[in-house]
Symmetry: D2
């Protein structure tokens, strides 16, 4: 079924990273770190002209793509463009959580079904589409020095671990993404693609105007009670570089003070 | 928030059951058992004229409704009709698993995105819509002798417990349903509605022409290696009758010989 | 390996129940209910002369046994005595949680290792010993009408679901019991013995002097925010009577208002 | 409760590592890597004169300690000696799985209770003792540059994730260790100690005579279907170096081809 391969003879591979769902948090941190590590990097977002992404292009040469990732044709076209511009991706990060103001924190009896449906399609169905295109391309890659043809990482949320009250639609989407990731891991890891699901079990720290990160929840006096997105990016890089003899599928990240 | 109520003073309540997703298996077993226990029962299906449902009406007086449960308006109308015909439901069973021949057992790279999307909407989004309508109505019910205003049961599958390879879309839908059920449980149980998620972790036995049940997988010689849907219905009835001091949220049912 | 059996031809079986870890809560509720259902019942406790157990003998003819269930020889002797007095058990309930005042709610740095060790042996190792003796005997039973040779139920606690702070030793013991139950389920269910693990995720209501049950936490005004042990006993009876085509392994019971 | 601390002002800390449960696999890999990273390293084992540990001392200056980690006094003495020789540990790895030939793969009805008890005490109770001593000392450490006072890592096994048949005692011990780790994480992470549980879900590759690692199961033709202990050590180092804003508690490691 799987043939004998010798990863150690794998030549160094030019890493090509694609980040879907761009913003000033995890995606920008990933964009910067991956570029600094010598990867060619693209970022896709519904609105690719957001200031954070323009900044990312300016500072690190990250290529920007516009894409509504809940549409099959749009996702197919995205990957065509990326292959044309950068090459076949070796690292894909799905970073859309689809959390909508309109539905979050609404009870099941009040939530608007239209927003519930959109949450499901934007966060979970898009993961299916991105995962599908990425897998199709990566299966033809040569294994790198760690024996991997590629890595697909799904950023996830607390709601993937536990269905909280007053956020039924979000719980559906996050659980769906975990179910997809598990299925893909069991299917694709034996074919050389590393799949990872990374629920971030806390609020994520934002960036101050002077470029430093805030890691303190408003009204508190203790540092580091929010997740630092630069550290998430580091974990993603470590996952990407794991040897195929020792792959992690799921890593939950949370700050030291988080209740769980 | 929740006021002191005294369930023991609750008068006997006429139970009204609605089963969504009708067929010859679990839904028919539930229809028969609930009727025999004195409930008024309705069953909804995309095609309400299936022989199994006609039989159910004939033998047990179960009322049939046509409904595409993945559409908000259709679900709203269904509940209006049920209230008009039978009264406000006290027991609702969501029994759609949305498994589609077209997508099941296909690898992520081959699966048709259209079917993946339909699986998600038919199995998971419909659960949101049904749960929403049921909750809205039940919250106005008086608590019965067990202190419950109503029970909502989600039939689920093995793929809710584990994302199997070559069925990513189904894993998404089943996980989504579990996430929704958990969120609803944490939200609605303290308001008097019992929510249950019941993954059936095995094949379900079918009915022979003579009315007896097959509980043996083809090619095997051992009895009872398939789940008997009449026993699932019994478990649902027990869940519905649990006292609110001692509610179960999740029950996984599997035959004695099943590997897990 | 497993031969074809026909449970439906199974003659009615005289049920013989043994409850280990006796007190005024779950064990007494089980003792009463099982007796009322026609079973011969025995109860074992370190101190079999507790008032609750004397009462149980008086009111329901439940036979009392003294046994320190963390000692192999004592457990072996217990089962010999039960077989001699009542017959081979068909239903065994392990109801020791080993919670010790001395260790509960102590931080890991303060907890006395001697009590930690005793907690592990009293709650978890005793489950191994009880499960072992019960399984040895039950495997020779004839299947009853539901196809079961016997049922072994482990009462468990919230700490089986989640390791709470300041109770490391209790978390160890409860998790250990779950691990044992899972292993026994996968091993013995295909041989005809139903194994169940039942974490009770809440405080258990006690009995008032007039015989009525308290189901309200002190200082609250809402009923049924504690688990009613009579309802737990009902669930145990339902588990024991499940048909082997549709067995539940784990059931978590909690009151409607419990946070989880 | 927790005061405001500023990890970034933390001076570089001399890392002191203690590995409990020494052998030629994970412990030796950790010993080598930690030494090469500039840590002072000690390793404790029931028999500290094993060839693998002698080699570790010779090649990397790792200090050896004899200790039966299931005895409170022995563990207390071990930590006293380590503090005296190396200083207060900042990284402690509990690497005892307690798997015994005598009990592994035996059915519950055949397993010798004495070995079951020893498995529980050697693998799980020792984790309590080691964790307790480590926590007591680390709480007085100053936070390092990542805001951590120390890291305690529990190596675990597949049986922590799932209770397999014919290994009930091992399932108990591994589950117990997970329960303890969870409890300690919730208790100690907010006090600055990073707790991690790392189930290795596969066989571990051994070392050939020429020093190279075997990562192929006997009789197979595919590389890397066993876990490489050097990669496990890398993951441990990454866990130890995570910033307290972004800690992982549990990481399951398995090879690409492993079924799960």
């Amino acid at each position: 079924m799987t043939e004998s391969t010798s990863p150690d003879s794998g030549a160094p591979v030019q890493d090509i990273a694609l980040i879907i769902g761009g913003g000033p948090g995890i995606s920008s941190s990933c964009g910067r770190l991956f570029s600094e590590q010598g990867m060619r990097v693209g970022v896709a977002a519904r609105d690719p002209d957001k200031p954070a992404l323009q900044l990312l292009e300016k500072s690190h040469g990250v290529r920007r793509y516009g894409c509504d990732a809940s549409h099959p044709d749009a996702v197919e076209q995205l990957f065509k463009n990326v292959v044309r511009d950068l090459g076949v991706p070796t690292l894909v990060v799905h970073n859309i959580d689809g959390r909508m103001q309109e539905i979050f924190r609404k009870g099941i009896t009040e939530a608007d079904p239209v927003f519930a449906r959109d949450t499901l399609l934007n966060a979970a169905f898009s993961a299916f589409l991105i995962g599908q295109q990425a897998a199709r391309l990566m299966l033809d890659n040569k294994p790198n020095a760690n024996g991997a043809k590629g890595t697909i990482i799904f950023t996830n949320a607390s709601a993937a671990l536990k269905g909280f009250p007053n956020s039924g639609a979000f719980a559906m989407a996050c659980h769906a993404k975990s179910g997809l990731a598990q299925s893909m891991a069991r299917e694709l890891m034996p074919r050389g693609i590393h799949i990872a699901n990374v629920p971030i079990d806390a609020a994520i720290g934002w960036k101050r105007e002077d470029g430093t990160r805030a890691h303190r929840l408003a009204g508190t006096t203790v540092d580091d009670n929010m997740v630092d997105p630069d550290r998430i990016a580091e974990t993603y890089l470590q996952l990407h570089r794991q040897h195929r003899s020792t792959w992690a599928f799921e890593v939950v990240l949370r700050p030291w003070l988080e209740k769980w």
